[in-house]
Symmetry: C2
């Protein structure tokens, strides 16, 4: 028991420490700020979650997007205003519910999201160049599993 428990305990602390360091270095705001740099006035660390959330879900109402992204509805509205004015999304009346307004990504909005996602992937790949391909794949698999089944799964 001693070795097993101690070993697991150490593993937990190791992951906790690494995760803490990762979160400290990679604030969402900081990462989004970097990823959206130079992509126009309207897209920054505040509006990007709306943009990328929209890309994930497809056309969606502001209230549902707020729940999805963990934001307040009023903030979604205000950020969507900026993105709409910049032509990155448009509002369409929901044909099934005339109260609702669907937020829809424009083609330009899709381009922005593709750009940022490619930027992140490229950045990751660059630093993974030094890794044996086998280990990189293993890490990707375990990280996916950790995110989906791990301590932060819903």
């Amino acid at each position: 028991m001693a070795t097993n428990d101690a070993g697991l305990n150490d593993t937990g602390h190791e992951i906790a420490d690494a995760l803490g360091l990762l979160l400290r270095r990679t604030t969402r705001a900081r990462l989004y700020h970097q990823l959206t740099e130079g992509l126009g006035e309207a897209v920054d660390e505040l509006t990007y979650p709306v943009l990328s959330g929209l890309a994930r879900t497809g056309p969606i109402s502001a209230a549902d997007l707020a729940r999805e992204a963990g934001l307040d509805r009023s903030n979604v509205t205000r950020r969507a205003d900026r993105l709409e004015q910049a032509g990155l999304l448009r509002r369409e009346p929901d044909p099934a519910d005339r109260r609702a307004t669907l937020l829809v990504l424009t083609e330009q909005g899709h381009r922005i999201v593709r750009t940022t996602r490619q930027r992140l992937a490229t950045r990751i790949e660059a630093s993974l160049d030094a890794w044996p391909a086998e280990e990189a794949r293993t890490f990707a698999r375990l990280l996916q599993r950790f995110v989906e089944e791990g301590p932060f799964a819903p």
Copy 2:
């Protein structure tokens, strides 16, 4: 080349997606809020970075801690005020520089940090129970390496 490049590309995108999901689910603010729950009025998601930074570095000046934690000096001062009032840290004149004030964790402050770190580790261990111990250790090792050598290393 096709398979290798495509494979690496996929790996990069897989990690990017998993990382994005992780950051979305685990905001620093949200995690710190949970970890510090019920530990007193003074310790919350705002003051915790100061507290844990102090635990990592040991006695340190406000300016240096601000650099370490990526905060503005004025915010470090204000948050340290709250923590000081709650008895979690104290200020000591720096014997080597009379301009500086060293922030020092009290024993009670150490206890708080130990508690939160144990909470996180426990939470991680709990969800890792279902993993084969071998894979958990592998993940811990690869995550450490990713954080230290990866795309977010300084």
